[in-house]
Symmetry: C2
Subunit: 218 residues, 2 copies
């Protein structure tokens, strides 16, 4: 599949690298087409890896991954261009963190709205699926590094788009039974509001020890 | 210990019943001292169970449990009376749910504040500890009903108050190693913001199957 990964941060790198390793053709998109992080990644990634502007990345893609920070995702998608996004599956892995008051950050949007819903409202023709935002980048693409059962969530209004994302998650190593479809895209509110608790658990974790949550049920 | 449980709902009943079974003397507090739910509970509970107004309950207590809905907790505590709360440990298990727009509810307070912090600000002399709000009432008092490791959180500014609450949680059946102290009371924001995701998972659970989250770590 031809995939655009928008964003050149840790999350963008983890996802783009994994997708190339799975045989997909990936363009890492950034604000400036000559972004050195994007170019360096593409060079390392070999023949399946490319770098370009948000617009160049999205134009050729069948699936678009939003790995930009949630606070700037709408601006990044505006640069990608509505015509380059329309009708496509957009996997939104972002968190809208407001770092203006220091650490830990607050959220730019929450409670009655979510980053995912703002994207969906702005681009009604895009098939937005929220997922993966509840775990750190290394866990997203290698869930098996954590021992035992742990879960990943998914929300979206388009069943076909969720099936596409579910297949991708399974290719990343998430067992189907650990993928929880929480329903419509408004469920992204809860997924994004998980971040403040994630951050507090993270602050108590032994340094560098990745974690996730498993649902323990009767 | 003499304990006030403020609130006559499912959570109040679960906590008051468990505390009596552990040998504590419990007064279930409600707005009206003649509240039939409080009186019925006290009659069932035997010699260690009493019912009264919020004020009567708090007056005689060494420890106060806020099991009222978060949206009305400040009003309930005002009726309890500052003099009856001052210097005491207050275990806040509430969630501030706004049901005015239907189900699932939104939160009355979040992101830059929490119910627990509003209580602490209103009563600086009270030693507020947030805990137990992340699980349903039956799980609060019987964590062993879920198979395998799962966790409960705690936040507060007073180490001695957290030690008291931790001892109580352990008496409820929470193993010490599954109690995560997340630090100061501002960590209650994350604990309260977990609710929207909890609700979405709850909506997908098989009917009546209790659950909680376990932290799965490297």
């Amino acid at each position: 599949m031809k995939i655009a990964v928008l964003g050149t941060g840790m999350v963008g790198h983890a996802l783009a690298g994994k997708l190339v390793s799975l045989g997909h053709e990936v363009t890492m998109g950034s604000r400036e087409p000559g972004n050195p992080k994007g170019l360096a990644w593409a060079e390392d990634a070999g023949g399946l890896g490319h770098a370009g502007s948000f617009s160049q990345a999205a134009a050729g893609a069948e699936l678009v991954v939003n790995a930009t920070p949630g606070a700037v995702s709408l601006a990044a998608l505006a640069e990608a261009g509505e015509a380059n996004l329309d009708g496509k599956v957009l996997l939104d892995v972002s968190n809208g963190l407001d770092n203006s008051s220091g650490f830990p950050p607050t959220l730019t949007v929450c409670n009655t709205d979510s980053i995912a819903e703002t994207i969906q409202r702005t681009y009604p023709g895009v098939r937005v699926v929220k997922s993966l935002n509840t775990v750190s980048a290394p866990v997203m693409v290698e869930p098996g590094r954590l021992p035992g059962a742990h879960h990943i969530f998914m929300a979206g209004n388009d069943a076909g788009a969720k099936a596409t994302v579910s297949a991708l998650l399974q290719a990343f190593g998430w067992p189907q039974e650990h993928i929880r479809d929480l329903g419509g895209l408004d469920a992204a509110r809860g997924m994004e509001m998980w971040l403040p608790l994630w951050l507090r658990i993270f602050m108590q974790q032994p340094q560098g020890k990745m974690f996730n949550i498993g649902i323990v049920s009767e």
